[in-house]
Amino acid sequence: MRISSDRIALPSLPLPEAPPRLAQLAGLHWGLLASAAALTLVGLLTVRSAAAEMGGGYFARQLVWVAAGLVAMLVAFAIDYQRLLAWSTPLYTGGLVALLLVLPLGHRAGGSVGWFRLGSVGLQPSEFAKLATAILLARYLSAESESYLTPRQLARAVAIALAPMVLTALQPDLGGAAMFVPMVAGVLLVGGVRPRLLVAAALVALVVGGLVWSLGMQSYQRQRVLTFLAPASDPLGAGYQARQSKIAVGSGQLTGRGYRQGTQSQLHFLPARHTDFILAVLAEERGFAGVALVLGLYGAFFVSAATVAARARDRGGVLLVVALVAIAAFHVLYNAAMVIGLVPITGIPLPFLSYGGSFTLVNWIAVGLVLNVDYRRYVNR
């Protein structure tokens, strides 16, 4: 009967009265949407500059993806998140099936098979599996009313995240697989983990890390980590990338070299400059001013999301927002640190800024879901 206690107890919560519909919309956290929109705008301009000499119509395609993302956001916003939580098991199962199917059927590129190709459009099922996993985790942990999660719950939450993670790692896409870690860590930390368990988890992480290093990594991935630890060991490979990126960032100085004037970006020194290293292009061309603006916008986005979480109606809402934003936060922190050479180079793009179809789509769906939680904070339908 504990499951239903949530539902029975709800009417006694000191919730504010539901205002009229239009006022309800006005009460939405518009700052969240505004910061995401501003970041997208900056991203589009930077992709345009970065891809100017590349051909392939990246700018035009990104425009289409952003438009698709906005539509997807509206859909994600329209369906009551309670209903989504109720559908979480089929959604999650669908995500796993897609990840299974992509292994034999996916488009092979650069030694991995993470994509379904539909004409000229590529879709990355691991991105959508992340969303489904976030929804199932929120639903699974929403039932708990104790202040700490039981070991059994912890184990099952980890298992929920582990299944899509392993499938993604099989593609192999270790960067994509790693993204499940901040998500599950975020919801567990917020859901409540005893301190001694945290210490134990850290130890397990060390062991797993060792195993991944020795068994699960491709030699080029190992090389990247080594390069990060000792940059001089591979001056022509990953060390070259890291150095070029740092020169690009630093040479931007305070105000930047001007739009499409970055010698590092335009001279083809920067690899993956329209995707993973988009921030380096921005830093070179717009200087610290541009970087500060973007980091500030991300800060605003995360604070807004925290506000939404704080005034969410129920545990499920809080945890859903946490799961979604934790991924984005990790992406932002890791990418920004990678571009300036603080952490090893891995294929982790920057939300709203980097070029990428599925990634743009999923980020905007996440925005829609967060707003969804915010919009339905009053009502109990």
Partner: protein, 596 residues
């Protein structure tokens, strides 16, 4: 209220997480501030002046030598001029300076610049190639005023003999888009690959693996320090079976003519000389901006790029009588004692066929028929054999299919028979055509190198060799499967062609050496019975063949000479072969060393 409290705990934790995220964000922001604002000037300088450049460490292509170790193809340093438009203060002034130093029309340079406009403003443009050292020096001296010019030092393929052996050696060309797609690992844009001949056939062996060097260059483009390097692997050298001296002598003898010479060792198929005339200078292709030269060569009506020794097929003429004689003996159609009377003509299938010798040869046996090249004798032999058996023996000698010579682009030639006639011409084989084929005329087509392997097989006692210029690539000789001693009468006949009293190639005698061979004269247009065509316009004159081997007792060298529209085989082709044998076996020359 319990639930409410737990929601508060949850919210508190979420907000703590958000604060931690924003805190980390601020920390990363500070690192950016540190790098961009506090140290930005240093990185700006690095980006501006101390750019890293990836330089290709070009792997030297393998050197090609002849059989005596004489270098035929090597690499020389070449200097090319590149213009970095981004660093030019005034493009007009830059062009003026380059025009002045190079002494070329200004339009030429601005044209090059215009064509590469599409590549974007940042990449340097290749402006001129093969600069002389004084020109290089002038650009180096003007480095401060003209930092936009860069001198690239590359390796240029140098063909020491110029036009000599051009068709064997081939040349290089810049890699095409298709080739890049076909071999993505090994090739990179801008690489040079073999286009013809040995350069192409042994491209992988000759081509090394390029290394790479990353250097820090200053604002003038001069390397300041090395950031790192990966060494490549130089290409392997190649020693050919070719004898450069013989090759040059053969080309000298064919100069001004159109034709081909093949000289090979009949014991293993090693090519000693392979000539196709006219030739071209492969050094012309060792430049990227050679479009005009290329067009001139492709447009030349005499097709200098064509390797006539392997890529052109002709009627063999009377040289084919060697195959006919072998077939007739093997099939028992003639015995060495059989005689035919030649009155100078014969009637077959209601038509009168002339012998080249209007007065006739009189009564001849097989050896005498070969010696005097009696057409009437071989008309009779051909009629008795029939086209199917003739075709079978032609194919036995590898006519109608490539010999497998390691030069590429080889033609198969054509051995006609009834099946071919029905398939390609839509009507059955006419028996009268057999009479023409019997003396090497008609639809039958062979390449000079096929004739050389055929003669080699007769010379070495019945083994088909695979002609080759690189020793380790050739398969072992294959036996023809003829009865032992069967070829003896044929060889006797061939010896008499040169040494007999009535031989057609008496002009090929070399003192102190027994040469054996067979002449051939191919009618280009149907004429009234073998009139002398030496006065006719060039394109109507007969083709001349001479196929020989020597020493007849223990053959070491096969020589096949073919002269397009040269006239008579005996008058034009045979003397060339004689001169080659004299060159190699003359009194002051050691005989060809034994094959390994």
């Amino acid at each position: 209220m319990r639930i409410g409290e737990h929601r508060e705990v949850l919210v508190a934790r979420a907000q703590w997480l958000a604060r931690a995220t924003v805190g980390l964000l601020a920390l990363v922001g500070f690192v950016y501030f540190f790098v961009q604002v506090l140290n930005g000037a240093r990185y700006r300088e690095l980006a501006e002046n101390n750019r890293l450049r990836r330089l290709k460490l070009e792997a030297p292509r393998g050197v090609i030598e002849d059989r005596h170790g004489r270098i035929l193809v090597e690499n020389l340093p070449a200097y090319s001029l590149e213009l970095d438009r981004a660093r030019s203060r005034d493009l007009g002034e830059s062009l003026r300076f380059a025009t002045e130093v190079l002494g070329v029309p200004r339009d030429e340079l601005s044209g090059v610049l215009e064509r590469s406009r599409r590549s974007g403003d940042f990449r340097p443009v290749l402006l001129a190639e093969n600069l002389s050292l004084p020109e290089v020096a002038r650009f180096r001296v003007a480095r401060l005023e003209h930092p936009e010019f860069e001198i690239e030092v590359t390796q240029r393929r140098f063909y020491r003999l110029g036009e000599h052996a051009a068709h064997v050696l081939g040349y290089l060309g810049e890699v095409s888009r298709d080739e890049l797609a076909a071999d993505p690992g090994a090739l990179h844009a801008g690489d040079w690959v073999g286009r013809r001949g040995v350069e192409r056939a042994y491209d992988r062996r000759l081509r090394g693996e390029d290394g790479e060097r990353v250097v820090v260059v200053d604002s003038r483009g001069l390397p300041v320090e090395e950031f790192g390097r990966r060494l490549g692997r130089p290409g392997q050298g190649l020693r050919l079976t070719l004898d450069a001296g013989l090759q040059q002598e053969a080309e000298r003898l064919l100069a001004g003519q159109v034709g081909a010479i093949v000289a090979l060792d009949p014991r293993d198929g090693a090519l000693r000389a392979l000539v196709s005339a006219p030739a071209y200078d492969p050094n012309l292709f060792a430049r990227k901006l050679a479009a005009d030269d290329w067009r001139a060569l492709v447009g030349d009506a005499r097709h200098p790029l064509q390797n006539r020794a392997v890529q052109s097929a002709y009627s063999p003429g009377s040289v084919f009588k060697i195959v006919m004689a072998t077939a007739a003996l093997a099939e028992g159609v003639v015995t060495p004692s059989r005689r035919e009377f030649c009155p100078g003509f014969a009637a077959h299938y209601g038509r009168r066929f002339h012998c080249w010798k209007r007065g006739g040869h009189g009564s001849v046996d097989l050896e005498a028929a070969i010696e005097g090249s009696c057409d009437v004798f071989f008309y009779a032999v051909g009629r008795e054999l029939g086209i199917e058996r003739i075709a079978r023996y032609a194919r036995l000698f590898d006519f109608g299919r490539p010999t497998g010579v390691d030069l590429g682009g080889e033609r198969a030639g054509l051995v006609p028979d009834d099946e071919w006639s029905r398939r390609r011409r839509g009507h059955p084989w006419y028996p009268g055509e057999t009479i023409s084929v019997a003396i090497g005329q008609g639809a039958l087509l062979v390449t000079p190198i096929q004739v050389a392997t055929m003669v080699a097989a007769v010379a070495n006692g019945g083994f088909l060799v695979t002609p080759h210029v690189v020793a380790d690539s050739a398969p072992a000789p294959r036996p023809l499967g003829l009865a032992p001693g069967l070829l003896a009468p044929v060889r006797n006949g061939l010896e008499r062609v040169v040494n007999g009293a009535r031989g057609t190639a008496r002009g090929a005698r070399v003192p102190g050496l027994t040469v054996a061979g067979k002449t051939g004269t191919v009618q280009v247009v149907s004429q009234e019975a073998y009139a002398d065509t030496s006065d006719a316009p060039w394109h109507l004159r007969n083709h001349a063949w001479f196929a020989a081997y020597a020493p007849a007792e223990r053959p070491e060298l096969v020589v096949v000479v073919f002269v397009e529209h040269g006239g008579k085989g005996s008058g034009v082709a045979a003397p060339i072969a004689k001169a080659l044998y004299a060159y190699l076996f003359g009194p002051d020359r050691a005989p060809v060393a034994a094959a390994s």
